[in-house]
């Protein structure tokens, strides 16, 4: 048998192996099922709406909030500073393009609990450990933050701080979502600029 035939047989074998190979890491989950299960069952993947409100009020730059709803829903109402990556488009492009951009924390939210929990299972399955979920979604945000109300006579320092954070987040949410679409982006930029100016201190 000459070399050419041997080479052809070897090539055929390799071709068969390639055909049988599992899909590449970017398309199929890379984390082992047991590890993924224990990660997603851990409550540390969740942030409460109050914790998210605190991130927004403090304008924490290490946090990226990802809105998984449709572009139409996002335009109507969204959490200040969030970016829109519809759940249906999550795997269309490389998720690393928005999950690997130097943010320590990426928080998914949708209207309820389904889409954000699908998204975290996908993101953690693809080995993006910096992904989290806002528990309860936008419905819980409205229920807790937007409809927050204090009715008692006495308020503890902790309750007061919580109520103040909710009120400030609510104000930011109202300011942001009451604007025309074209102004929403400019609004966020101007807020950052105003803070930078304030940071200047005494001269």
């Amino acid at each position: 048998m000459n070399t050419r035939v041997r080479f052809s047989v070897g090539l055929l074998g390799l071709g068969l192996i390639l055909a049988l190979l599992p899909l590449s890491g970017s398309r199929s989950f890379t984390v082992k099922p047991e590890k993924l299960l224990s990660e997603v069952l851990d409550n540390s993947i969740y942030f409460t709406v109050d914790q998210v409100a605190k991130f927004i009020v403090s304008e924490d730059s290490s946090v990226q909030i990802i809105d998984l709803r449709t572009p139409g829903e996002f335009r109507t109402v969204n959490i200040p500073g969030s970016i829109n990556v519809p759940y249906s488009k999550l795997l269309d492009n490389d998720p690393g393009s928005f999950l690997n951009n130097g943010k320590a924390i990426n928080i998914f939210y949708s209207n309820g609990d389904f889409d954000s929990n699908y998204a975290i299972a996908i993101a953690r399955g693809l080995n993006f450990d910096n992904t989290y979920v806002m528990k309860g979604g936008l419905n819980e945000w409205f229920n807790t933050v937007m409809n927050s109300n204090f009715t008692g006579e006495r308020i503890s320092a902790r309750e007061n701080a919580l109520f103040e954070t909710r009120t400030r987040a609510k104000r930011m949410f109202n300011e942001m979502n009451s604007m025309p679409d074209s102004l929403k982006i400019k609004f966020i930029q101007s807020k950052h600029l105003a803070i930078k100016k304030l940071d200047g201190g005494c001269e």
């Binding site: 899909l23 299960l37 997603v40 309820g112 299972a121 996908i122 300011e175």
Partner: protein
């Protein structure tokens, strides 16, 4: 005597032919030694990797598609209809009202869903497998993991199909503009 010697000759001939065949086979193996040494171990590794449930091997997008279309969600009303072979898995620690439903109800806690016994039960079930939890997020996560492992005909059973519907109306504050 002649018969015996003829038989012995025939046996000897057959043996020689057999030996020749073996020799040629050995030669062939020797010729392809390099190809076999390279290809065979890779093939074995690929086969090991391609089978078994120790890893995900499916196209993540393809297997998540029904969650985008929301065709993976079933309501209790849909299940109550006498469709027959439903396997209902209660993922909660508590035995809930779901046990009253028609079909086979199994109480399997979420953290043990990937045990060999439970995966085999799900895979071998001939009919829809319905995951139920009072926490819709829990069923969603387990559904995604099982789907990506290649479990077909698996659904989320929920008593609130409108979980992903925005339930509030935002009124813009026009005084701010």
């Amino acid at each position: 005597m002649e018969d015996v010697s003829r038989r012995q000759k025939a046996v000897g001939k057959r043996q020689k032919a057999k030996d020749k065949k073996q020799e040629s086979q050995m030669e062939l193996i020797k010729k392809y030694r390099l190809v076999i040494i390279v290809v065979l171990p890779i093939l074995i590794l690929v086969l090991i990797r391609s089978s078994g449930l120790n890893h995900f091997k499916n196209d993540a997008k393809k297997w998540a598609e029904s969650s985008v279309k929301q065709s993976n969600i079933m309501t209790i009303e849909q299940v109550v209809s006498p469709s027959g072979k439903n396997l209902i898995i209660n993922l909660d620690k508590e035995v809930s009202q779901i046990s009253k439903l028609t079909g086979d109800v199994q109480n399997i806690q979420a953290d043990s869903i990937l045990s060999k016994k439970h995966v085999n039960l799900i895979m071998s079930h001939d009919g829809p497998v319905l995951l139920f939890s009072l926490d819709p997020g829990l069923s969603a996560k387990i559904w995604m993991i099982l789907s990506q492992l290649g479990c077909r005909n698996i659904y989320i059973l929920t008593n609130s199909a409108d979980n992903e519907v925005f339930k509030y109306k935002f009124r813009p504050d026009t005084l701010l503009n």
